[in-house]
Symmetry: D2
Subunit: 346 residues, 4 copies
């Protein structure tokens, strides 16, 4: 299978390295606007042709699949042209700038019978896959909350704000792990460096039941934190991506009101049990994801992070932007394609 | 100086121990409704009389000052009676259930010439005092954000929700450290154990400038986290109260846009400098606070955590409860006593 | 039961507090040479008589048991007099300065039918008791090594060196957890502050099989570390006493040579399984130990940390001092009382 | 400059990647006995010729320099042939199996005027270079001790034991940082997996003054630790290589006896000051090292990790093996080439 990579900036080198090592894949051409970046790609992988013109990939009949690692505002146009040219597409997150764009790509891929996959890298990590198993097995009981912190000093982006950049990761994790669908979104944030570009933000998702999800994203943090807490009635999970090996910890801890007769008589039962850190598959997520992309194309499978999964994240991001522009007012999430398709997927 | 302690539950033993060790203080009597608690107090401090009736303290002419460690809804009534009886008052946080109650106590103490102090323990810690010096010296530059996480598995309270319980601490730190006054509050939360009693919550404070403050409080976390991030244009601080010694770290890190000509041309400058952890006074905060209470009474000083400081926190908590009841809508903070008095204090 | 406490310096206050709270114990008198210390004890526990003369305890017929928290060189003489006066003895670690002294006390207590117990606090912690269960259940397989680090900046002692001070703790843990007896000891160390008083030291214990134990003790470390690694053929344990809750972690990890045909053909099998942190009893060890002391006296039980256990540690310390004085030469550990009695105990 | 790489096993890929990216270097050929490894090298770097025969590098007149990443017992023979063929040599640590072999290579390189450099990677890290500056500036005062822990679960080696494998790193750090020369070595260890191959070991270096250095190396640890403590009279350093950014911490802490009149009157002064974590150059050490190798060849400079530095480490390792075979007896380190040359180097 011959692949073309468009974009060799921040994430492109990781894609090129992994695509290059994927069995059955030949990266035929890599496109970037910057001559320096092209030279860097060429030096590392002399067998890959480089070019400054995306058309050389989009119009190349030998190329079966296109991988897009360009700024978000270009995703829709480039993916659309690739699909129209009959090529499978693997696009960086967030999938598009709007719900409408995402829906158009999904429809187009469907009509053409092509694979459309979004790079939600984290759901391919051993840690998130293990948490998925734990949640599906019911080990956590009823889910109470999902709390996420993803903060760092940069890397700065100019094309999208910190919510679209960082929360996209945690939203992909949430929507993968938690079966319930959020009903509304509220977002608060502030800009300090580039006027209009929010660099510190807080996002809350509301659900039909008491489950609540919150996301803290920040480009101005002195320390790097990537942590999810997932609380349940039976057990709780801490996923700390900065840990080298024990990334997932399952706490056999909980709290219940045993009986209550007035505020002085209420009896609360704390359960403080063992902590268990399951062994995690440490293979590089992006490598597994590239293999999955190839497998989906070859065997007509629906990717775990298909266009519909990408749309679910974009739908929340779009609503978050509206909330942010309206002083944090709750924005109801429309249904539609998302709920239909996601049930089909599972 | 003779002191009476009302309430020997969760925090009372710490108060009794520290009051007992404070020079010039004699704890004459300790009151608690529970006979078991009274026996415990008596066993540890045989010289302290115990009783089940608060009146034995409030009506004892020998007692100069009353310390209140009772449920929040009793604070106003007990403090009012103590002040009316001419006694100085040291009351647990949060000071009262309403702004109105707090304002009444402040006025009463003022008219009577008595000391009214709130137990904002954290602002007496070496860590918070050191951060106050750092901020006042301008070391952080313009302040960008204040992010706070205070989560744990309980201890559960039935009389107030997790915001009134835990955020009260961080709000006392914020209002002590940051000179700007918040303009509005929004709060989101969820209840999972006792219907109507929020146990996971997120609070956002909005300011006139771009400064933003956020608080995550949670009684259902498997792990204990007590962390503040304070971002500034010149430096940033991490205050981790779970660290044994290096509780405060000052990061000489920052980010600036050097020049910008379109999104591809923007140059961002990351400054990654040294990290510095100043030596912290490790004396027990509550001990210093007890000494401060005595000193304020004897020398007619305004306590660092006076009624006005207590009111500032209650004002935010009251607004947070309103926001919570209104789906997280922003609630504007009224001014008044707070801004006037706080300038007088400094 | 009436108890007398001799020594109210560094550890004495912890003993007094716990003895005071132990059911069935009345601390009648506390002796210390320093008037300031006596005042401190008296202020906190007005019911306890204070004195500067140990004889007032040793000759008091009402006192049933004596607790010794004095410098090590006084342990033998004071314990001997107490035993001769028919009193049970609870003595700080290390038990005595020499094997001979320890053996004399053991014999005396035996002849008098009195309880002689050494304060090996750590073996009463939930963490060490849990590790004992894990090892006894065979969960670790064959034991490979015991590695211990106990370093800190002080607290400085002038009466004994860092080995006698700090390694005494870890030797009490090792001899409690590991059934095999060490055959020889070697010690290396260096003095930097007080000439002749070693403040950084390394101790190695050699066993009949391949098991090896090593101890790093240091009064000049900028950071506080208290960690044991225990390696076994099936699983491994990390005991980190600086962790707040997850003090013990059991790693289902190991390594084996599956087959070997020359150095290029050897196949090593790494087993990387789950990590499990068992729930630990968090009650204060010293409190349990005081209860155990009372229970042993009342019910004529052999204390878990009896004189023989104290002797086992002193025997190693004495040999370590000899090795230290001989450039780290291995010193063979004589047998005798230790092995006989310890088999009797179990 | 044309380079040949012999050995593409564990470390070889890192060398090839960095050599490939070094300006002015062309990796002409890569040799490995394993066809699979050759295919792997070839796939990643199609421009590099591969071969199973080292002679194709050693006898190639176009090749200027040879990089050796083969088992230690082959280092001497391969390096000798390369030097005899007029090629510069960059050899993995430890440099050789014996002092004699190392001395022969040093002499040969000197006579031929060729660069002989050993891959002591750690001394090229930003962390170690920064510590070198701190020590040279006298910030630590008089040096007291160097304590090192380097433990992990494997990776297992069959050609050398854990001391030659892991302690080689820390010895290269010690001999780089500390100007004093060790006088003798003692080593203790134990084998658990492969008979005769020590997998847990402790090494002590003795110096003319009170300075002491100790090394714990272990292939059977469930956790990965890479930590150095360096104690001085004025300040102390913790170098934790597992930290992502704050790898070096300087503690302004210390202890002194102010006055002493008998053991009860001695006054010890603890200094507990700030902690400072200097910014560290985070560039990859091996990349800087490859550039340094080229620079030394081009400009006839003496490498920071020249043959003499390699010899200093081998001399200690050789003595450690003798000590290990003699129950931990101290082995005096002969002088000679090491001291002469090292003074010439600085």
């Amino acid at each position: 299978m011959k692949v073309g990579l468009i974009g060799y900036g921040y994430w492109g080198p990781n894609l090129l390295r992994n695509l290059h090592e994927t069995n059955g894949v030949e990266v035929k051409r890599c496109v970037d606007l910057s001559p320096e970046r092209r030279t860097a790609a060429s030096k590392r992988y002399p067998s890959v042709e480089v070019s400054g013109d995306a058309d050389e990939i989009l119009s190349d009949p030998q190329i079966d699949a296109v991988v897009l690692a360009t700024p978000v505002f270009t995703h829709h146009a480039l993916a659309k042209r690739a699909l129209q040219a009959g090529k499978h597409v693997f696009v960086e997150k967030p999938m598009t700038r709007t719900v409408e764009e995402a829906e158009e790509l999904i429809g187009l891929a469907e009509r053409k019978g092509l694979t459309l996959m979004v790079d939600h890298t984290f759901i391919y990590t051993g840690a998130v896959r293990r948490m998925k198993e734990i949640i599906e097995a019911g080990d956590l009981g009823e889910l109470y909350y999902f709390d996420s912190v993803r903060v760092n000093l940069g890397p700065w982006r100019h094309d999208i704000d910190v919510i679209w950049d960082l929360a996209a990761h945690d939203l992909s994790i949430l929507t993968y792990l938690v079966p319930d669908k959020p009903q509304s979104v509220s977002a608060e944030g502030s800009d300090h460096i580039e006027p209009g570009l929010v660099d510190v933000a807080y996002l809350t998702l509301h659900f039909a039941n008491n489950f609540i999800a919150n996301f803290h994203v920040n480009w101005l943090s002195p320390v790097k934190v990537r942590q999810n807490l997932i609380g349940g009635s039976r057990r709780m999970v801490v996923y700390d991506d900065m840990e080298l090996t024990e990334k997932v910890r399952v706490y056999d801890r909980g709290i219940q009101v045993k009986s209550q007769e007035g505020i002085y008589k209420a009896l609360v039962d704390y359960r403080m049990g063992d902590v268990w850190s399951p062994k995690i598959d440490m293979r590089e997520a992006l490598s597994l994801e590239c293999e999955h992309f190839v497998d989906c194309i070859r065997n007509s499978k629906v990717p775990r992070s298909d266009g519909v999964a990408g749309l679910a994240v974009v739908r929340i991001l779009e609503a978050a932007s509206i909330s942010l522009a309206n002083n944090g007012a709750r924005v109801v999430l429309s249904r539609g394609l998302q709920s239909d398709a996601s049930s089909a997927r599972s």
